[in-house]
């Protein structure tokens, strides 16, 4: 859904449009500044024949901040340089290992391949130039439309020595949701990874005891995936019926 080649849209859609002078704020983003993960259709939540809103045909891409080029700014470059030194010997070269770096809203995210995660984590903790001593949290995010990387594990790391925070993100396919566990490097990740397994089905290989933590042991499914229903029952009140939250009209 990214505009091709950074030009104004061409082709059938744009052909019949009057030439409107665009304000600087209303230009399409140049390529490489956005990354699309799925589309949003319609408005006001109405679907099918019940849609009288007139917006049923609207298709808008879901656009996330895209990888940032050098320089990242501030201490971000120092961290990236130190990390690259450690990744130089890796399979496929470091460009591949540190494929995408997103700097957005003052926070830096390193997208890491799952096979490199353990080595990256170890370097981040042990290198005197990095010193990320504390793993704040590991959480899962399910992007059903991010084909091939549906499940993301997001690690928030904190360096108390340098007072810095970074984020590591590992995307894995739904069909093969395996990634290495960082418990050997950060023992605190133990329960966090169990929670991500419980809620998303992410399988952290090498975890000492990857079992459910919040849900009962025999619970079927992984509740925080997007395809898992919220559940709930309709509630009657003064003659009216309020449907459960996931069946109410949504505006997204």
């Amino acid at each position: 859904m990214t505009p091709p080649d950074g030009e104004r849209p061409t082709g059938p859609d744009a052909a019949g449009q009057p030439a409107v002078e665009q304000s600087p704020e209303n230009l399409p983003a140049p390529p490489g500044q956005v990354s699309s993960r799925g589309v949003r259709t319609g408005m006001f939540g109405a679907k099918g024949t019940g849609d009288t809103s007139g917006y049923g045909g609207l298709v808008a891409p879901v656009v996330f901040p895209a990888p940032t080029g050098r320089p990242f700014g501030g201490w971000f470059d120092e961290v990236a340089d130190a990390l690259l030194d450690h990744l130089a010997g890796l399979d496929g070269g470091h460009e591949h290992a540190l494929g995408a770096v997103v700097v957005d809203r003052g926070e830096i995210t390193f997208h890491v391949r799952r096979e490199d995660l353990l080595q990256v984590a170890r370097a981040l903790r042990d290198d005197p130039r990095l010193r990320f001593e504390l793993c704040s949290s590991v959480s899962g995010v399910h992007y059903p439309d991010d084909t091939g990387r549906e499940l993301h594990a997001v690690h928030h790391l904190l360096s108390m020595t340098y007072n810095r925070r970074i984020r590591l993100e590992v995307g894995v396919p739904d069909s093969d949701p395996r990634l290495p566990s960082v418990v050997a490097v950060y023992p605190t990740a133990d329960w966090h990874e169990r929670e991500a397994f419980d809620m998303f089905g992410l399988v952290f290989e090498g975890h000492p005891a990857l079992t459910r933590i919040l849900m009962p042991d025999d619970w079927p499914g992984h509740p925080q995936r997007k395809d898992y229903p919220l559940g709930g029952i309709p509630v009657e009140y003064k003659g009216g019926t309020v449907p459960p939250p996931d069946q109410r009209r949504s505006y997204t």
Binding site: V62, S139, V141, L214
Partner: protein, 457 residues
């Protein structure tokens, strides 16, 4: 303490003891204790040749600080292995938030760590504000009110930590004193937000409403009263020989252990390391307040207790400074100026309780079509948040509390994950408890001060 295993192997009529029946399972002999009769257990243990006893403590047990289940392997009274079972208070708050608007999210997350509701709201609101890019537009009065409420909340939370910790030791006076003072804070919350807990008062863009008249005087007299009463707690506990004997050297965890296991808050500061996000990574303008980070150097339960007591004094200092600033901000806005984000309604007390102010109704129904549209759109649909993710941690009474909020550009959170300090800190139970006496497990857990609402979310 109960040994509880509802397993299928219960042999019918094996023993007709109403209070301490036993059954054979694949794991060995299981006793179910519901009363005070331990005779059959001691007899049963004498028969068996196995020394190892596994005791299930909780989840319904008055000393486990909530619905926490402890699985303890005992050798006599010494704990050889300790594990936690959690999840008994899991309510799916994070999942539920994905089905509500961004503003409604505060109503859910305030219920997580129910002893520190303002911190849940604050970290969530700060995250959403970063996603919206309005961090610099939050009115000063809203920020000062957030600080005021958070520090009052820190006092009430630490009071409960000390009170319940004391109660679990059997120090009932500590409990009654702690809850008595906490009630004063809750009265202030009720005056300012209308509720004692579950406030949903700090919202993306600011706070729900202005300070009510007379609030600053009440805060002033509260601070003066607490200045007298905090020393009472200190006089009762600090040098109390029984209290010290129970707490000193118990649940020790040094700095390396804290960092490896991710412990933050009082357990980390009790090792002597002055890590406090209010100082190291200031948010809400904490860098402009005069206060000190409290540390202790014993790394044990007693140190954590002293850190908490000293932090309450520091919080009083901050509350006083915030109240002073608020006195000069009378009538200033408490919600961001952007009408596409700011919650439109204004509350007031009517004849039938608190509700939309009649002035606001008159405005949207009689004066401004645009105001009506904004009100309708924001209340039904909510505002859109640009796609991306943010993590803005804050220093809650228990440590680093952060919300990882992800937006896909919609009117609802795509994902909200809370890094709750109780959840992370509770992992230290095994390290703190193993090798010690069973009575010290209680002390160690009380010194972590986990709140199960935050652990299980």
């Amino acid at each position: 303490m109960t040994t509880f295993e509802p397993g299928p192997g219960r042999a019918a009529g094996a023993q007709e003891d109403l209070y301490a029946g036993s059954s054979e399972t694949t794991e060995g002999r299981v006793f179910t204790v519901t009363g005070q009769d331990w005779d059959s257990i001691t007899e049963g243990l004498a028969e068996g040749d196995e020394e190892r006893v596994v005791v299930n403590m909780g989840p319904q047990h008055p000393s486990t600080h909530g619905v926490l289940r402890l699985i303890l392997e005992l050798d006599g009274e010494t704990v050889s292995e300790a594990r936690c079972g959690i999840g008994y208070l899991h309510t799916g708050i994070e999942k539920n938030m994905e089905y509500r608007t961004w503003v409604q999210g505060t109503t859910f997350c305030t219920r997580m760590d129910y002893l520190a509701p303002f911190f849940n709201e604050a970290t969530y609101s700060l995250g959403v504000e970063r996603l919206l890019g309005i961090e610099d537009d939050i009115p000063e009065k809203a920020t000062v009110m957030r600080v005021l409420l958070m520090e009052l909340n820190r006092i009430s939370s630490h009071l409960v930590a000390i009170a319940t910790g004391g109660m679990e030791l059997g120090a009932l006076t500590v409990m009654t004193i702690g809850f008595r003072e906490r009630e004063l804070v809750l009265d202030l919350f009720e005056l300012i937000t209308g509720l004692r807990m579950n406030h949903a008062f700090i919202r993306p863009g600011g706070v729900a409403q202005d300070l009510p008249p007379g609030a600053l005087e009440e805060i002033g007299s509260f601070v003066a009263l607490m200045r007298k009463r905090l020393p009472e707690i200190e006089a009762l506990c600090n040098a109390n020989p029984i209290f010290k004997a129970r707490l000193e050297g118990i649940g020790t965890l040094d700095l390396e252990g804290c960092l490896a296991l991710g412990l933050t808050g009082p357990p980390l500061r009790a090792t002597g390391y002055p890590w406090d996000l209010r100082k190291t990574q200031p948010y809400c303008g904490y860098e402009t307040y005069d206060f000190d980070v409290q540390t202790w150097d014993t790394a044990d339960s007693y140190g954590r207790f002293r850190v908490r007591v000293n932090e309450m004094h520091e919080s009083l200092k901050i509350v006083e400074q915030a109240a002073e600033r608020l006195a000069g901000l009378e009538g200033a806005p408490v919600m961001v100026a952007d009408k596409k984000i700011a919650w439109p309604s204004q509350l007031s007390i009517g004849s039938d309780g608190m509700g939309n102010s009649l002035d606001h109704i008159r405005h949207i129904m009689g004066e401004s079509m645009e105001g009506l549209i904004h009100h309708f759109k924001l209340v039904t649909e909510g505002f859109r948040v640009p796609a991306g993710q943010a993590y803005v941690p804050i220093e809650s009474p228990r440590g680093e509390l952060g919300a990882h909020v992800v937006s896909d550009g919609g009117t609802r959170p795509f994902r909200a994950h809370f890094r709750d300090p109780s959840f992370t800190n509770l992992q230290a139970t095994s390290v703190m408890a193993e090798g010690g006496m069973i009575a010290d497990v209680i002390v160690a857990i009380a010194s972590i001060d986990p709140v199960m609402g935050g652990v299980d979310r």
